[in-house]
């Protein structure tokens, strides 16, 4: 488990290694199905069968740190203060009470040194981060961990949560999210540690939870999004909010967070795994694993 070697003017330096990027939905019902032992039920079994290879891939990848880009859903942040981009620098992140009591998942261990390095680098790189020292993590963060790691006693890696506002209009643009990913990569490339890092972009895929149009799913949009995410992320990053909302549902805007993940990878990536499943709860559920080439 050593980091990447980077050739510098004075020789070779150890830097963090970005092992992979994962795009995944973060549907709360998936977390509830896991927590309540319903993974074998007819409604859920087909979905959990599909993600089995992802868990096998993760066990193999064995990252030291996961950077999880997600949105808080009225758990850590209220409307009183709405950060566009927030980064958690705490030593621990407890699961949030979202109204049911907290999920019975482990408290996540943070990586304050690397998180502060990211925060400082990103701000000097002209991203206007909000630095957060205490925050619970809600399903947006814990469900991707459950999808990736199942139900361990302790999460097998450290966590750096990055929250993106996608509830209060306007979310940051897809372009800005993609650029944030690139800046995260620059920061990782300057980190003198040997951590193996996986970055998650979460949310989506197409879904609309609200209004008379609730239940909208656009599988074709989702497929095209994944295709472009792999092959032409810059084009996908140019898509505006209204197109997401119209085509992928009002909550489909969460997909901009996958662009942060994509921006952190090299321009050329290898698609390792892809899962599509409709529905989990009211959502088109998708997952993709990308490795730098």
């Amino acid at each position: 488990m050593t980091g990447a070697m980077r050739r510098t003017s004075t020789g070779v330096a150890i830097v963090a290694e970005l092992v992979a990027g994962i795009g995944t939905s973060h549907v709360p019902a998936v977390g509830a199905a896991i927590d309540n032992g319903r993974q074998g039920e007819p409604y859920w079994a087909p979905y959990f069968d599909k993600i089995e290879p992802v868990r096998a891939w993760m066990a193999e990848a064995d990252p030291d740190v996961c950077i999880v880009v997600y949105n808080d859903h009225a758990s850590a942040f209220s409307l009183q203060i709405i950060p566009t981009f927030a980064i958690g620098v705490a030593a621990q992140f407890p699961p949030a009470d979202e109204g049911y009591g907290p999920r019975a998942v482990p408290v996540a261990e943070g990586h304050p040194e690397l998180a502060w390095h990211l925060a400082e680098s990103l701000i000097l790189d002209e991203f206007d981060m909000t630095i957060v020292n205490e925050m619970p993590i809600d399903h947006g963060c814990t469900v991707p961990l459950s999808v990736a790691f199942g139900q361990p006693e302790r999460w097998p890696c450290r966590l750096i949560p990055i929250c993106v506002n996608v509830i209060q209009y306007p979310a940051p643009t897809g372009h800005r999210c993609y650029q944030l990913g690139r800046a995260i990569r620059r920061a990782l490339d300057a980190w003198p540690g040997d951590e193996r890092v996986v970055i998650f972009g979460t949310g989506g895929m197409s879904h609309q939870l609200q209004g008379e149009r609730a239940g909208l799913v656009n599988a074709e949009f989702d497929r095209a999004f994944m295709d472009r995410l792999v092959a032409d992320p810059v084009a996908q990053a140019a898509v505006g909010h209204t197109e997401y909302m119209r085509e992928a549902g009002s909550e489909g805007i969460e997909l901009v967070m996958w662009l942060v993940m994509r921006g952190a990878l090299d321009s050329d990536v290898r698609e390792v795994l892809r899962v599509n499943h409709v529905p989990t709860s009211n959502t088109s559920n998708g997952l993709i694993v990308l490795e730098p080439r």
């Binding site: 019902a29 859903h73 009225a74 758990s75 209220s78 409307l79 009183q80 949030a96 009470d97 979202e98 109204g99 049911y100 009591g101 509830i167 209060q168 209009y169 306007p170 197409s206 879904h207 609309q208 939870l209 609200q210 209004g211 008379e212 149009r213 609730a214 239940g215 909208l216 799913v217 656009n218 599988a219 074709e220 949009f221 909010h241 209204t242 909302m245 119209r246 085509e247 009002s250 909550e251 409709v278 529905p279 709860s281 009211n282 088109s284």
Partner: protein, 156 residues
């Protein structure tokens, strides 16, 4: 100031949570969020009216909360991530609430989702809802005229 038109105004059956919407719903949403707290849930369960007095809801918002008018709450500034805290409090699921907002039962809504969800075709523009059926189902998200437009049948 009158709010300038937005290019998302013509998405049917959708309440974009922009600044204007957020301002209108601030107290309503903050009430809903307070239900994250166990002690607050107990207080709200014990005496809903007294608990609601802690928040500066409009009479319409208060009524919508007490009658669990899920669509009405959205129209009065609610955001689904916040109002769903109240559904959690009631032991409801997203299928219950999705159905209630779109004029379906929970089972109908679940069936629609399992069959692939509500399709995008015919559901992108307000004019599609109008011309489709001859009725004005799209007025539910006309912010200026919110009364009695919650209806609308199964469009799955």
């Amino acid at each position: 100031m009158t709010r300038a038109a937005r290019d998302y105004d013509d998405i049917p059956g959708t309440y974009v949570f922009d600044g204007e919407h957020s301002r209108r719903g601030y107290a309503l949403n903050m009430f809903c969020m307070s239900l994250n707290d166990e002690a607050n849930r107990a207080a709200f369960a014990a005496d809903p009216e007294a608990y609601l007095d802690r928040y500066a809801l409009t009479p319409d918002q208060r009524e919508a909360v007490l009658t669990r008018d899920w669509l009405g709450m959205l129209q009065l500034g609610g955001n689904i991530y916040y109002t769903f805290k109240l559904a959690i409090f009631d032991g409801l699921t997203m299928q219950d609430v999705g159905g209630a907002m779109s004029g379906m039962t929970r089972d109908q809504f679940t069936e629609m989702m399992v069959a692939g969800g509500r399709p995008p075709d015919g559901n992108r523009y307000r004019r599609e809802w109008r011309s489709d059926t001859g009725d004005d189902r799209d007025e539910g998200n006309d912010r200026g005229d919110e009364e009695d437009e919650h209806g609308g049948g199964d469009r799955g």
